[in-house]
């Protein structure tokens, strides 16, 4: 398993468009993806589960990937959160 924290750097925190694209990015991989915030943990491939995290701008998200392609998934999702999230 790969795990670590990634800051959510954007204007709105977790919101519908971001959650959809984050879940879609996670869905490209076969490994399990979980994101955590405020003591909650969510299936990273499910838009509504991500929205339920209620993550705010600047929150640290705990990212976990577990499975065959956990390394590429971790890198891709970290990159997505650091770079793409602020554009959505």
């Amino acid at each position: 398993m790969r795990s670590g924290t990634v800051p959510l750097i954007n204007r709105w925190g977790m919101h519908a468009r971001l959650a959809f694209h984050l879940a879609s990015e996670a869905g490209r991989f076969t490994c399990a993806v979980r994101l955590g915030s405020h003591g909650r943990s969510a299936d990273g491939k499910d838009i509504m589960a991500l929205l339920m995290l209620e993550a705010m701008p600047g929150d640290e998200l705990r990212l976990e990937t577990d499975g065959d392609d956990e390394g590429p998934a971790y890198e891709a999702l970290t990159n997505f959160l650091l770079n793409d999230a602020k554009l959505l």
Binding site: A16, R17, F20, H21, A23, S24, G27, I47, M48
Partner: protein, 135 residues
């Protein structure tokens, strides 16, 4: 891929489609057809039938209606024998957004069952969360 059509009263279908398109950034996944009570029943049925037929690329069409028993839903149900389709009555936005993802990997029948359940599961009483935080 499975086609998706939203069929509802007045402008509701198009507004659902617009909102879902804004979230997903995809504008080719969803189709909307309005049932307007100013239109003759036969013409309304033809419009709905054509919209569903146009959305079918051979993998069937998942039709979301706004309310079971309403005219849009009744029209769609009346077409079930003519077209390859499943109807989910009682559409909400979580279902539509999820449908855009699922259509890439799931067949029509599986999508219909999953999205029926997904729609139910994602209705919340917000005050429950506030109470949980205060506890």
């Amino acid at each position: 891929m499975v086609g998706i059509v939203i069929c509802a009263h007045g402008n509701l279908a198009h507004e659902f489609m617009n909102a879902a398109n804004f979230i997903t950034g995809q504008t080719d996944a969803l189709n909307a057809v309005a049932v307007d009570h100013n239109v003759e029943p036969g013409e309304a049925r033809n419009l709905v039938k054509e919209a569903i037929r146009a959305a079918d690329d051979g993998n069937g069409v998942l039709v979301f209606t706004d309310m079971y028993g309403g005219t849009p839903s009744n029209i769609c149900i009346s077409l079930q024998g003519d077209l390859r389709m499943e109807i989910v009555a009682g559409v909400n936005l979580p279902q539509l957004v999820k449908a855009v993802s699922l259509r890439k990997t799931h067949d029509m029948e599986t999508m219909a069952k999953k999205l029926r359940d997904y729609g139910k599961e994602n209705i919340y009483l917000a005050s429950d969360f506030l109470r949980a935080k205060d506890a």
